[in-house]
Symmetry: C2
Subunit: 435 residues, 2 copies
């Protein structure tokens, strides 16, 4: 009989419970595929008495998760505690220093401390794996760092937050407004009680920074992700976008920018307009999808469940199986010391088509003021819709789509209009994804 | 300096040339990711003088490809000769027996001899890899055997042949008929001069059999794939399907069937109707896409370029990088000896919704005859369209969609109508994919 791979689980929330359930349900199949059984040597969580739907007494319990990192009978620590620092980071460091492999679903911790942990893991000669940290059940880290390994990746982008995608696609289907749909999402469990990390784009930014590091062989720069969330998107924007042939999605996008003779790392999370003909336009509900473009493979798309206990557990256990099989790939596809320090790219010279929505007072001269500002800033307008107000002197929506041009011109037009008393609220600018 | 991984290339057609170009272009990046350089130690092809766009003199030439398998300075043989048997198979066997790793893009050889080669590779302790054999540049073999490794896979299906998808989606866009579009596809290089393997579904069946073996841990049964090609699909079918909310795609589908208390392997390649809301409905042109459904991960979709020198070379070199990294996963995700022998599943009891197109003489009583046959066979009709003929007594098209029911009932209805002189041609039955 071959030796099992012994794992210790820290954290028995939704994902941790899913991992136990998966390992119990698919044990025999996993042993055949991994070449050896996966054995849960010990577990730790905050509450020992909570009913999690499985018999906790089958597993050795530790009150203190950090003890898992020093148990003799543990090969791999699975960190599912969460949080970028605190107990999760302490456990991760201790596990690696103690010669254990580390598997985690913790995107915040990897986005902030991934480089340090990867360097420590290489030093210690242990695996560090975090497939579940990005896009839940979709093996996109494996896809980029192994499947696409032969390619220079030019761009990676996608729908990285299921909560935002659920909200936007529900707004689209129902015509309802953001706040209203968010409440529903919270009630249905698609959004947290405090939804800030999701709806402000921070969760997507964590994932994007991880993907960018792997795709471009660049040192992680979470601090340099330009981030905007979905709360400014109105039902009217979705309606206008649809009339123009687009849907609105929160897109994380990263590129290597060589356009100015300097290599820069471009990373942005923002609502974008996606043309109906693009595969991302058909990604609805809590689904995630990632597109990677390489110099030989062309465009590759990965799509699936971005969250939930089953899909996330599937990714966690895939990492464990890789370790059981003896796979030794570096955490970020190449050794941490070889990742290049690439400065954030300036964005002003980026050529984009943009959608700009103005909420204005319904009175003479407003349209002339806006179009003059666009002209003076050098923004060329491709189409413009003014939606009539129902009452004299009320608010109206003006939605403009620009021709392709430097983003700095749009910024300049917004600067000219800043503080204008024609505007009821600040304009919303969203870039348009090319087909 | 670390030792390079030395490879030998047999075959310098489109893909082989692409592999050389990729390794030359991305050499430095590949070395960083693989942890060591990839060195082309020797090459062999039919014609030494042909201009392939690179300097052949840089590489050691062998007239006889089988010599590559015994060169001391070769770690991995890359077989890109093609053909299920003959020189390709001889080279593969010799390379493995000689203790070399084998990488191949040869779907026909793997579909026919994959089990034998996998067993030999395990015996010899060398890697056997064939990512490029299925869906070109899409890392779907890796996705299934590693990314989805924690799951019991319930179903795997997709668009596996770019030629057929190009033809069907062009018919859809232009309203033109099959033969006409095929000619264009041949002129543009999307179809071979002899397109039989592609348009009759054999190429897709090769790929499906490989995917099924990996997904289900089953012994390869290419002989048991029920195969039908796209040539019977008419422009009128595409038009009717669209009116009903579907597109037509050649789908390869494999499932483990446990419905009758016996475990059976279901494998089918056929044109299907795909509802507009399904991600496969938006896969156009020569693109490939594969869906896998697992008991924890849910539905996963992989999409990308299914053919072409760049994407296929990307997959070949990804395999080479895996080997350079020391990855040791079994060729079919588990040892060949552990793959289960699963008998083909009978299909009569399968519950499907079907589209049935009849081409009939435009005369009284025909519709009554068809609907009576359906009733007598127990087929419940959900909708039926009769498209009026332009001239009295001409041919008309009747398109029926059935409610969900056993496929045997549809077969029985076809049997009742067989030989009826109301029918101008045999009816065409296509199953409908669920949303």
């Amino acid at each position: 009989m071959v030796e099992p791979l012994n794992i210790a689980l820290a954290g028995l929330g939704t994902v941790g419970t899913g991992v136990v359930r998966l390992i119990e349900t698919n044990a025999e199949l996993i042993a055949r595929r991994a070449g050896r059984p996966i054995r849960i040597a010990a577990v730790s969580a905050r509450d020992r008495t909570k009913d999690r739907g499985f018999d906790l007494s089958r597993y050795t319990w530790e009150d203190d998760p950090s003890v898992l990192a020093s148990r003799e009978d543990v090969d791999v620590v699975v960190e599912l505690v969460g949080g970028s620092d605190g107990p999760a980071l302490a456990l991760a460091r201790k596990a690696i220093a103690g010669g254990k492999g580390l598997v985690t679903a913790n995107k915040a911790m990897i986005a902030h401390h991934g480089l340090e942990l990867a360097a420590a893991a290489e030093e210690a000669g242990v695996p560090l794996k975090f497939e579940a940290a990005v896009a839940g059940g979709i093996p996109v880290i494996k896809g980029l760092s192994e499947g696409a390994a032969a390619n220079a990746i030019e761009r990676v982008y996608g729908i990285l937050n299921g909560t935002c995608n659920y909200i936007l696609s529900t707004m689209e289907d129902t015509g309802r407004d953001f706040a209203d749909v968010l409440q529903d999402a919270q009630r249905l469990g698609y959004a947290e009680a405090d939804p800030t990390f999701d709806i402000e784009g921070i969760d997507a930014a964590h994932k994007l920074a991880i993907l960018a590091a792997i795709a471009f062989g660049a040192r992680l720069r979470f601090d340099a992700v330009e981030t905007m969330g979905v709360s400014p998107v109105k039902a009217a924007d979705i309606e206008q976008a649809r009339a123009l042939g687009y849907v609105i999605r929160l897109i994380g996008m990263a590129e290597i920018d060589r356009s100015n003779g300097v290599t820069g790392l471009f990373q942005r999370v923002r609502p974008h307009l996606v043309p109906f003909g693009h595969p991302l336009a058909h990604v609805d509900g809590a689904t995630n999808a990632v597109v990677a473009e390489g110099n030989f493979m062309g465009r590759l798309l990965f799509q699936g469940a971005g969250a939930g206990d089953g899909p996330t557990a599937s990714a966690v256990v895939a990492d464990i199986i890789d370790i059981a099989r003896g796979e030794k790939r570096a955490a970020f596809s190449m050794p941490a010391g070889e990742l290049e320090a690439i400065e954030p790219a300036p964005t002003g010279h980026r050529l984009s088509r943009s959608y700009i929505r103005f909420t204005v007072h319904d009175r003479p001269g407003v349209l002339a003021e806006i179009t003059a500002a666009m002209r003076d800033a050098g923004v060329s307008i491709e189409s413009l819709i003014q939606k009539g107000s129902e009452e004299e002197g009320g608010e109206v929506i003006i939605a403009a789509v620009t021709h392709e041009g430097p983003e700095s011109a749009v910024t300049e037009a917004m600067r000219i209009l800043d503080g204008s008393d024609s505007l009821v609220a600040p304009p919303l600018v969203m870039q348009i994804i090319a087909d």
